[in-house]
Subunit: 194 residues, 2 copies
């Protein structure tokens, strides 16, 4: 294996995501060198994360010489919001924010929500695209709680740790159970076997 | 001018929009024959309608033999929602709906909102893309009112007719002042001069 094969690019403009994923790579003592590439990708309006991720990947394929991946995640309030904000999570966060979400569901006793992450990985040396997914089920908190994480973390309570929001977990605790953690564990398992 | 030059295709899957625009063409006694083409376009996530419209137009350009246009519209609640739902209007309507919008702004006395429409027109015989825009300023109603129109019409009150929501206007009244009406008037003026 030459040096090139040990480098994997993570195409993202989000430094929080890059940091979170770098931690995961470090924890696993990966032989791979993870580098950030902040290139503009084309994001489509579609209902599934997989569609969005595949289009995004293909939109930058010609700009990168090497193996790379993009990651896409969404927060889905299955009930009562029919999946909102879903694939539009980052836009919704910037506009109505967590306060807006809490308003939208404040007269509902119960909510059902999940986070999903998908990694679309282009493995240059075999010229193939592979997908790795992760999901975590939970509900929406009544209040905004915690200082960790980012995005909708302060209002999401995972079923597996039902006393805390994602933002009240340490990075290590969160990575163990999170959608992103799961998806990256799958990617790393795959890379380790190569 | 041959027959081909008299046909203009409107690429849309939305029968309400097609109907509204057909009315406008009829009212103006256009020599052009408007036909609906329901082809899947690629819609990107972007902050401006113009970007979304241009990408959409180019995504179907090779599938249509003739002049055609696509139209994109958005409902922007400039205050207090920072432009939400904007280019994601149709998704937001399907998930949280007008009820959701009213909840989001219910503790604000004043709101500022506008509808925008953009037409991206591909004029085959000169091989050019042209844009036609329309905007209407107003505010969000406290309640859902009226049976006409579609989408966010029942919660939008235009400044120019400050007692009624768009859904309380007749199709004719609405077309005279609406964002879509303005944009199409510009397109028709252009076509008439050709």
């Amino acid at each position: 294996m030459n040096n090139d094969e040990n480098t994997v690019y993570f195409v993202t403009g989000n430094k929080f995501k890059f940091q979170e994923v770098s931690e995961i790579f470090k924890d696993k003592n990966m032989k791979y060198d993870l580098k950030q590439r902040d290139i503009k990708t084309t994001e489509i309006q579609a209902h599934s994360l997989r569609e969005v991720a595949l289009f995004k990947l293909n939109s930058v394929k010609n700009s990168i010489d090497g193996s790379f991946f993009i990651e896409d995640a969404g927060f889905f309030i299955d009930s009562p919001l029919k999946g909102f904000p879903g694939v539009y999570s980052s836009y919704v966060l910037k506009t109505i924010g967590n306060e807006g979400i809490l308003k939208l569901i404040d007269d509902f006793e119960l909510s059902k929500a999940h986070f999903s992450a998908i990694i679309a990985f282009y493995h240059k040396f075999i010229d193939k695209i592979l997908f790795f997914e992760g999901n975590v089920e939970g509900r929406v908190s009544n209040t905004i709680r915690g200082k960790g994480g980012f995005g909708f973390d302060p209002i999401f309570i995972p079923n597996i740790l039902p006393d805390k929001t994602f933002a009240e977990l340490s990075a290590e605790e969160k990575n163990k159970i999170s959608h992103r953690g799961q998806a990256f564990t799958k990617l790393l398992d795959y890379l380790e076997k190569k």
